[in-house]
């Protein structure tokens, strides 16, 4: 008795807190009254209210009259028309009047009046102060409390720490295969249900193949399993499960489940739906991580903050694609900048909450969550985590460690070579130079001065010019459709009369060039020359070019050399078919050009009259000869001639300015055989400098250049460093600044929030805020890790068993279903953590269980007790997803291309697995959509399995189905001499079993008749076989896995 009183007192502390806030006078004996009232509440009143009032007045969204009787606090608050209860005064209380039908308002509405005894008890309870022992709706809190989170909120099952559960005792001692089974069996036995018998080996092998790798077993694989299962069933299953978990196809199968949760796509959506061409790395990360059995906590940590946690690991960078996979407008007006950014942040927070924690955090954007204890400020604290996180495309070194090692080795080899050259230049060269300079070297005769010192610039990105010894430039890198080059030459003295533009052949070019087009051609649309004085005074003036001539012209009109200096941009100089040889064009200046301080010439080469038709190896030269010079007249490099002229003009080496001396020395040393030999070793080694193996990857990170956006020109900032709490989610109604934090309801043990937060190292590019989130979300002791574990084991269970232990796999909140077997769920979540978050260990635990291995037979009696099969008395048959259907068609048709990874395709004729389709939001693959693939817009935790006629049309008429059938028919016809044999083998390949006698008879009869109907056609039999194979694909047995 003593003990009971103390419990009551504690309860009072919790639930009676607001008695003094009530307006009515509180009687002196309120303490005793409330204690008595509590007893009454527990004995009868609580149940009476629950039964008769809560349907309309019970913490739901649509409260009648805005009156909520779920808690004492909400009761005292009253409804739309004010208070309904005056504590300690039943006579004055509207609620009591209403149930007594003493006024106009009569409750329960449209239902019979309550029995007199019930009315009396409720009235008495009000007189006793109307205390509550507990909320009438589990977990309900009064509305005004939703901005704070209480210990009471943390009592809700999913927020609770994992219970240490051990397998319960069961009556049937022989059923258990793994610990899972005792949990399942205990649940069944409690309802007096027996599990189904074990499925036969043939059914089981098919089930396991589809579940784990999403492809059918071959007939040989079926037979091997059936045989080994006959001797030791459980060991055969274990071997099979291990084999399939080790298969690379496992990641492709389970990766697709994850991509639904990640709302993964490779385009922006909205107006133009631009592609995200480097987003596919995220899909590859998912497949690789699953195949490698990456611990699930790490899998999650990398997706949130891989760039901070393992910046050198390419996979960790690719993982961050998760955050940036959502939609984003491609067109923005100023008015939309900030709200669009908040939408984007919302997408990150909502997806993180739903996919990882099964919590609809996004609901708290506009208001405190209506059902779950997620105050709006918690939401904005999470939003602040991502404030500076944006989508970028960066070069990622696929193997940084290897590159570092190679570079170190190279550095070590390079030092002695560079040292030898330096030693020679210091100790040997000066003497040789002095001797040579004193010999007054002659300036060679030449006609063309080759401008080997030009500075070259291309308008398009990624085009590279590399200088060759002969003064030409080899063009490599990007080959844009159209381009425009600007070459600026160092000053030239004298009176320039003509320019020569050469297009030289090169072994590295297609067809040896001289152009970069696939056939070796080029097309120079426009060639412009401007000149200005080297002293920088005056503007550059165009030089009029006249009398153009060339070694060869493709024609005399639109592809002539003359057309490169006309005003028509659709014509230009080209040389088809004279590929693989040097070409040159000479243009005379209408008037010679000379400036006293030297002339700076700028050349513009435009390539716009054909696509990808630039010159592959251009070289420019000028002459001072009157009337120009022959194409092949004597040439000298500007870098060779000018120093010699300078030396000649100076008279002796000492009279050179330091700048001139350096130039002359540079020119001289190239003539020295010893220097050249030493230099060549250095150059050669330099050319072999190891390059990182890089690939462009879309990441979600901070401090990198944002992905280009249409609104960049309008000044779109891509992010706002400060996050605010918004009223009603409206970025025009900012309230307090928000700083990073986590969901209070998922913080336990009074752990200081600061403990999860990470401080960025000095000079860091990123804020480490996402690392903080990753720390909290995987902390199983005090953070959200226990929920993270529950949610993922439930998802695994859902895909293996057709339904999660929690039937709402992405909602573990108050609105979601409660776990059908909470002990089992906590056991599995605990096992996951104990097994180092190994998902493969979980698969094994589930698939080796007797629960999983049951046959799917429906039993009306059992169904009556458990219609949804939540207790798992049978295996729930599953319709294959669109991806698996298509992959199976390809596999059985012998058409499947197993190439993994890399860029995807939109081509439905592709023969790769369906996970390698590119996911473009405006061009979703119709067949996948047809079979319920979700639109990749928000995280999706479960797909429906609809049955609609257009799916049947796919099997009947699509090119894909016909082609797979034709190919299967071909395979069958080659190995099966008779229709009966063909039918036999067809069944084995598609269904993994032999046909029944009846099936065989019907099928053979069909093939014979169908062949006859094709008459004399030479392929009549093949066509009939194709029609039969198509029937096999249409079988329910092909797409429903028992």
């Amino acid at each position: 008795m003593q003990r009971a009183a103390r419990i009551l007192a504690v309860s009072l502390g919790l639930w009676g807190v607001s008695i003094f806030a009530a307006p009515a006078p509180v009687p002196a004996d309120h303490g005793e009254r409330m204690t008595a009232g509590l007893e009454l509440f527990q004995k009868s009143v609580g149940a009476l209210l629950k039964e008769n009032c809560l349907e309309c007045h019970g913490a739901s969204v649509k409260l009648k009259g805005d009156l909520d009787l779920a808690t004492r606090e909400s009761l005292l608050k009253g409804g739309a028309h004010g208070p309904v209860v005056v504590p300690f005064n039943a006579a004055e209380s509207k609620l009591v009047q209403a149930i007594k039908h003493s006024g106009e308002l009569q409750m329960p509405n449209k239902k019979p009046k309550l029995p007199a005894d019930a009315i009396a008890q409720i009235a008495k309870w009000v007189d006793l102060g109307a205390p509550y022992a507990e909320p009438l709706v589990k977990g309900a809190v009064a509305k005004k409390d939703r901005s704070t989170v209480t210990e009471q909120d943390r009592q809700f099952w999913s927020f609770q720490p994992l219970k240490k559960t051990s397998p319960p005792a069961v009556k049937n001692k022989t059923w258990e295969q793994t610990p899972v089974d005792r949990f399942v069996l205990a649940g069944l036995e409690a309802k007096r249900l027996k599990p189904n018998a074990a499925a036969d080996a043939r059914t089981l092998v098919r089930r396991i193949y589809f579940d784990l790798i999403g492809l059918p077993p071959t007939p040989e694989e079926v037979e091997a399993f059936v045989k080994s299962a006959a001797s030791n069933r459980q060991s055969a299953i274990e071997t099979l499960v291990e084999k399939l978990l080790a298969s690379e196809h496992y990641g492709e199968r389970w990766g697709r489940h994850w991509l639904d949760l990640a709302r993964f796509a490779e385009s922006h959506g909205f107006e133009q739906d631009y592609d995200r061409p480097h987003a596919y790395h995220y899909r590859d990360f998912v497949i690789k991580a699953l195949n490698a059995d990456m611990p699930y906590d790490q899998f999650v940590r990398w997706q949130l903050a891989g760039d901070e946690l393992a910046p050198d690991n390419p996979l960790a960078l690719m993982a961050t694609g998760f955050l940036g996979a959502g939609v984003f407008p491609t067109q923005l007006t100023e008015k939309e900048f900030e709200s669009a950014r908040y939408d984007e942040l919302d997408d990150m927070v909502a997806t993180t909450g739903t996919a990882l924690l099964g919590m609809s955090v996004g609901c708290a954007r506009c208001h405190d969550h209506k059902f779950d204890p997620i105050p709006s400020k918690d939401y904005y604290r999470l939003v602040a985590t991502f404030a500076t996180t944006i989508r970028s495309e960066i070069d990622v070194d696929l193997n940084p460690a290897a590159h570092r090692a190679a570079l170190a080795k190279w550095d070590a080899e390079h030092a002695p070579l560079a040292g030898a050259l330096l030693k020679f230049e210091r100790e040997e060269l000066p003497g040789r130079f002095a001797k040579w300079a004193a010999s007054a070297p002659a300036v060679p005769e030449f006609d063309w001065l080759v401008l080997d010192g030009v500075a070259a610039k291309a308008k398009e990105e990624g085009v590279t010019f590399t200088r060759k010894d002969d003064g030409s430039l080899l063009v490599t890198g990007a080959n844009p459709d159209q381009d425009s080059w600007t070459f600026t030459a160092p000053a030239v003295s004298g009176s320039i009369t003509a320019v020569r533009l050469e297009a030289l052949a090169d072994a590295s070019l297609k067809k040896k060039g001289p152009g970069r087009a696939d056939n070796g051609n080029f097309s120079l649309s426009d060639f412009l020359v401007t000149a200005k004085s080297a002293d920088g005074k005056g503007k550059a003036a165009p030089v009029k070019l006249v009398r153009p001539r060339a070694t060869f012209e493709q024609n005399q009109t639109s592809l002539s050399v003359a057309s490169s200096i006309d005003t028509n941009k659709t014509s230009g100089w080209a040389v088809d078919p004279q590929f693989g040889r040097n070409h040159a064009a000479v243009f005379e200046f209408e008037r010679p050009v000379s400036f006293s301080n030297g002339t700076v010439l700028t050349f513009e080469l435009e390539f716009s009259n054909n696509a990808k038709h630039t010159i592959g190896r251009p070289r420019l030269s000028v002459t001072t000869n009157a009337g120009g010079a022959e194409f092949a007249a004597a040439s000298q490099l500007q870098s060779v001639v000018e120093p010699l002229v300078a030396l000649r003009d100076a008279g002796s080496a000492d009279k050179l300015t330091p700048k001139q001396r350096a130039l002359v020395l540079a020119s001289f040393k190239r003539t020295d055989a010893d220097w050249r030999a030493l230099n060549e070793r250095v150059e050669k080694h330099l050319a072999a400098k190891p390059k990182p193996d890089t690939v462009l990857v879309q990441v979600s990170s901070e401090g990198f250049k944002p992905i280009k956006h249409h609104a960049d020109g309008r000044g779109y900032p891509h992010f706002y460093p400060q996050t605010y709490v918004l009223k009603r989610g409206d970025s025009n109604q900012k309230q307090d600044p928000a700083t990073q934090g986590f969901m209070q309801v998922l913080m336990r043990n009074h752990r200081d929030e600061q403990a999860w937060l990470a401080t960025p190292p000095a000079g860091a590019r990123t804020s480490s805020r996402r690392t903080g989130l990753a720390n909290w979300i995987t902390d199983t002791e005090s953070g959200a890790g226990h929920l993270l574990a529950r949610v993922i084991v439930n998802r695994l269970w859902q895909h293996h068993f057709g339904r999660g232990i929690v039937g709402t796999p992405s909602d573990f909140g108050f609105q979601g279903e409660k776990p059908a077997n909470p002990e089992l769920l906590d056991f599995l979540a605990g096992e996951l953590i104990r097994n180092g978050w190994s998902l493969k260990a979980m698969h094994k635990l589930m698939l080796l269980s007797a629960a999983y291995q049951q046959e799917s037979k429906f039993d009306p009696t059992k169904a009556k007790a458990d219609p949804q099969n939540t207790l798992v008395w049978r295996h729930t048959p599953q319709r294959l997803e669109g991806e698996v259907i298509r992959d199976s068609l390809l596999a059985v048709g012998g058409l499947l291309d197993p190439t993994m990874f890399g860029k995807g395709t939109l081509d439905e004729n592709s023969r790769r697995r369906s996970i390698y389709f590119m996911i473009k939001r405006s061009k979703l693959i119709p067949t996948m959509q047809l079979f319920d693939a979700p639109e990749p817009l928000v995280s999706q935790g479960a797909r429906p399995a609809t049955v609609i006629a257009p799916q049947a049309l796919m099997f009947m008429n699509s090119a894909a189905a016909r082609q797979a059938a034709a190919n299967l028919a071909k395979r069958l016809s080659e190995s099966a001499p008779t229709s009966a044999a063909l039918v036999e083998r067809g069944y084995q390949l598609t269904l993994g079993r032999a046909p029944t006698e009846k099936e065989r008879t019907s099928a053979v009869k069909f093939i014979e008749r169908q062949a006859a109907s094709y008459g004399d056609a030479p392929d009549a039999r093949t066509r009939a076989a194709t029609d039969f194979c198509q029937v096999l694909f249409g079988l329910n047995e092909f797409v429903y896995i028992q």
Binding site: V61, P860, P877
Partner: protein
């Protein structure tokens, strides 16, 4: 996610009506509760919340944002203040803040028409004859000044991507009346001008099961996928094939008699077989008599393409299709009603393409007695400013603050005007109608309470009208 409902006996019998002899099996299932698994017919007709006024909806989507002051919202005051500056105007209202001009009167003449005396722009000589069938809403307003958010708002109730559109919600709520045709059909501008901005997301099912998305009829070639039998096969040969399939599937089903999905799928092949002929039949406009073809303007080159779509729409709703949406205008600015430049040429041109076909549709529906149960909707994603957008030939920029919609048939009053924009047509001021309100009204006419039509996703009940929406009762008949 699955409805987790049991197949009802009525549904079972309906399906069994597919001529497959399922009745024998149905007797095994006499006790409804003994059927396993979700009945996966997401398109089975469902009763509305209350009797529907409109069985079908045809939405003429004037894509790009038609100008209210040049079409249906007559503003004499604007003419008086032509060329004057609009004081206090926020230059970021439209899309181009650097091309804001002065007030600009409509270049079109307005004349009164019908019993109701409605002022109508001269660009609609045909539609003007039907004003007594129309209920005009002049006080529409929306939440974005940019095409695709505004398109999403108008179609899906939220100015963001990812939500189900009106047609998807309606199909989710009511199922499909037609067993041989899709419940919700979308046609886009067939003149090579592209899709509206945001493309298929405008008729997408968002987070609803994809079965509820709009079926897009391609303007060229096969309108929908997989409708045509492989050419090497005859009807009889395909029939023989399906007979074998049916037989084999039946005996498999006999071993799993409680799995209703299996029965549904058996039937789906028979439905598919029938669709092969039903869909082409519905699209065979050459079966229409000459006077009907002329009524829509099929014989006039400038509007034949839109006439064909309007006539198709009528044939579809006649055959039980619930929602049809036809887009006039495509993606790029001047290729839609997005008249930034040359409002005369732009609006004049698009009006000329659509005026007679839409008028023909109204007349034809009325003559067949179908207008009473068919709701016709006309409007775009927002309105346009009463100011000029500066250009050699001036146009008008986007205006989220005011637009005009009209509805006809399907339970709305004819010849009424509801709400008003200010004297210049700049902002809605009287009886403002938000897009959520328009949606609530459309759902109401279809027999659904927009607050009760919900879908639970990850713990939240979503609605087309989010947390808002009031039915515009004043226009209900």
């Amino acid at each position: 996610m699955n409805a987790n409902t049991f197949l009802t006996r009525r549904q079972m019998l309906q399906r069994a009506g597919g001529g497959l002899g399922l009745l024998g099996l149905a007797s095994l299932m006499r006790e409804e509760k003994l059927l396993a698994a979700p009945a996966a017919d997401p398109l089975a007709p469902r009763a509305p919340h209350f009797p529907a006024r409109a069985k079908s909806v045809i939405w003429i989507f004037t894509n790009g944002g038609p100008s209210q002051v040049d079409t249906w919202d007559y503003k004499p005051e604007l003419a008086k203040r032509d060329g004057k500056e609009l004081e206090g105007f926020d230059k970021f209202t439209g899309f181009f803040s650097n091309a804001v001009g002065g007030l600009m009167k409509s270049p079109f003449e307005f004349r009164q028409h019908g019993q109701c005396g409605k002022h109508v722009s001269e660009i609609f000589p045909f539609l003007a004859q039907h004003v007594d069938k129309m209920a005009f809403i002049h006080s529409g307003h929306t939440e974005s000044n940019n095409h695709s958010p505004a398109l999403f708002m108008m179609n899906c109730g939220v100015p963001r991507m990812g939500f189900p559109c009106v047609g998807s919600w309606a199909t989710y709520g009511l199922g499909s009346e037609s067993r041989n045709l899709p419940a919700f059909v979308v046609m886009s501008d067939p003149r090579g001008r592209g899709l509206p901005k945001g493309s298929a997301a405008n008729w997408g099912a968002g987070f609803l099961p994809s079965v509820y998305q709009g079926t897009y009829f391609r303007p060229q070639g096969e309108p929908i996928d997989n409708l045509v039998r492989a050419k090497e096969m005859s009807v009889a040969q395909q029939r023989a094939q399906l007979d074998l399939l049916g037989e084999l599937n039946q005996s498999h089903y006999a071993q799993h008699p409680f799995e209703s999905d299996l029965a549904a799928r058996i039937e789906s092949f028979e439905l598919a077989y029938r669709m092969q002929s039903a869909a082409p039949e519905a699209l065979a406009l050459d079966r229409e008599p000459e006077h009907i073809r002329r009524l829509y303007g099929l014989d006039s080159e400038h509007c034949a393409h839109f006439a064909a779509q309007c006539l198709t729409a009528r044939r579809l709703v006649e055959r039980g299709v619930r929602c049809v949406q036809i887009y006039s205008g495509g993606m790029e600015n001047q290729l839609s009603w997005d008249g930034h430049n040359d409002i005369v040429g732009n609006h004049g041109g698009f009006a000329r393409e659509t005026d007679q076909p839409v008028a023909g549709l109204l007349a034809d529906l009325a003559a067949r007695g179908l207008l009473d149960e068919t709701l016709v909707i006309w409007g775009g994603e927002f309105g346009r400013l009463p100011l000029a957008q500066k250009a050699a030939k001036p146009g008008r920029d986007h205006n989220p603050h005011a637009f005009t919609y009209w509805l006809a048939g399907g339970g709305v009053k004819g010849g009424v005007s509801y709400g008003a924009s200010d004297e210049l047509g700049h902002k809605a001021v009287e009886n403002k109608v938000h897009v959520n309100d328009l949606h609530a009204t459309i759902l109401h006419l279809m027999g659904m309470d927009h607050e009760r039509l919900t879908y639970r996703l990850s713990g939240r009940d979503f609605r087309l009208t989010d947390v808002a929406g009031h039915v515009v009762r004043d226009i209900l008949a």
